[in-house]
Symmetry: C2
Subunit: 305 residues, 2 copies
């Protein structure tokens, strides 16, 4: 199997789990290898937009995990053209190569937080209309649609996970990867937390180990379709802050700012179909996950961040 973006937050955790039970795990990622050495692991440094490197990376592969995103919801709106050129056109290049090399299975990480837009109801099931209000979400929807088009025309077998807000070790603060990393770091170092809006904004947070266990299953079974991945329950920003305060025994300093136009008020995903079809469930509620994250992050991570 090949993990595109295997050195990122989700990727590095997934690669660790896959190396346990697989003889050969290939990782394609920008920059030198930050992953721990493992006999199963082959690391390829380069861009997945470089078709020669990607073609070589796909040699001997039967399953592709596509975890790369060059943007996040906030940055995507600043330059939608770059978002399209890298993420969307990048996917077409990948799919064309997969078809040519007769590789059909792909696990793709889509976005549970942005593809639905402002929810008409919660929890959101996968039949909810797709009304993204940021480029990140528009492009994820288009990527999903191309995966199904290539499925229909050329037999690609996509498993699409619309993932809510994952958090946990490996998610470094200051990279815009998530509020839990950011809040934890800032509370631990006594820095001011900036909150967009009044703190009532609700999201569905999933501990990285729970997401990884599902991704590992998806590589083993052949289930084509689109699935929500979250905890199934919602938490406000204020609840997160008070939980970290309670775990750390420290007091947060919070600065409330104007809400951003592309942030929706509440996202909670209906994960019942995912649980049933993959015989999967989450092991971490938010407090347990936050505690594990808090205990595991090291001071080096904070300095790196």
């Amino acid at each position: 199997m090949l993990i595109l973006g295997g050195a990122g937050f989700i990727g590095s955790n997934l690669v660790k789990a896959l190396c346990v039970s697989n003889d050969k795990v290939k990782v394609l990622n920008l920059g030198p290898n930050p992953l721990p050495h493992h006999p199963s692991l082959e690391y390829i440094e380069g861009s997945f937009l470089d078709s020669q490197i990607l073609e070589k990376a796909l040699d001997g592969v039967s399953t592709v995990y596509h975890l790369i995103s060059t943007t996040n919801p906030s940055s995507s709106n600043l330059d939608p053209v770059a978002d399209i050129e890298t993420n969307l056109i990048g996917l077409i290049g990948l799919l064309d190569l997969m078809v040519r090399k007769k590789i059909y299975k792909i696990v793709f990480i889509s976005s549970g937080g942005t593809v639905y837009g402002e929810p008409l109801y919660v929890p959101i099931d996968t039949h909810h209309p797709l009304k993204p209000i940021c480029s990140y979400g528009v492009v994820k929807v288009a990527m999903e649609n191309y995966l199904y088009m290539y499925s229909h025309l050329y037999g690609i077998k996509p498993t699409i996970f619309r993932v809510a807000n994952p958090y946990g070790p490996g998610q470094l603060p200051m990279k815009g990867q998530g509020v839990i990393a950011d809040f934890t770091y800032k509370i631990k170092t006594n820095k001011t937390i900036n909150v967009w809006g009044d703190g009532s904004s609700i999201r569905d947070y999933i501990y990285i180990d729970d997401l990884v266990s599902l991704c590992v299953k998806a590589g083993i079974v052949d289930i084509v379709g689109t699935f929500n991945v979250g905890s199934g329950s919602g938490t406000s920003l204020m609840q997160i802050i008070s939980s970290i305060e309670s775990i750390s025994g420290l007091k947060a300093c919070v600065n409330y700012m104007d809400a951003r136009k592309f942030d929706v008020k509440s996202v909670v995903l209906d994960i019942s179909e995912t649980k049933a079809l993959f015989s999967w469930s989450t092991n971490y509620d938010l407090f347990k996950g936050l505690k594990k994250y808090y205990d595991e992050i090291k001071d080096e991570d904070i300095i790196e961040g």
Copy 2:
């Protein structure tokens, strides 16, 4: 107002209608001006992908009609990257310029025949899931989503028409623009008609004058939203052939070929909301429209085609 693609099939008919009641109609289109001279008409030759030309074309404009597509459903799958680079990235360029120049109103022609994919039910309303199976449809969905994102973030006011299969004068055969032009031309010149599939494939055909009357209304009223535009009833390919035979008194020669994978079996649009909101209705049933088209097309058109 500015009509992007004003010299095309829909565009040339729309421009004629707009010139009747407007002082100034600007047209941006590739190639030299094929439109009849009119004192209200300003013709600009060039590509809408050229931002300098587009910026100049937008001067003094309050409403944009965006009718340009560089692909059709069949050609789009041969090169999805070109489809994305021209149509999708082209739209972002247009929207960014509109925002900068404080132009908010845009009438956009989307695709009633491809955005829904294989219908779950007919007639299809605008709440039907969007499951396109050709790049043309995937890109149209992404374009719609960007229009709404720019509406949400920057106040763009889009009227989106998911148009079924328009036909009528100005639609030249041999350009892949539609089966009615193709069939009429071939029956008239005693050439063999190639039909993909068994001829039972059903589409919703709308006479160009009916589409144009709606587009003219959309320029006058401010109605933001997505609307189906068709006749509201379905016709098979075989029914079209026998209607043209009956109108012309000629016999068709038909060659049935394997169905194409990206063609869906049946598309009939629910247009009730469009009729109610725009106080609009169609004046042509298929037989009346086919007859008018047959009578109006000239031998030159067929030779040009």
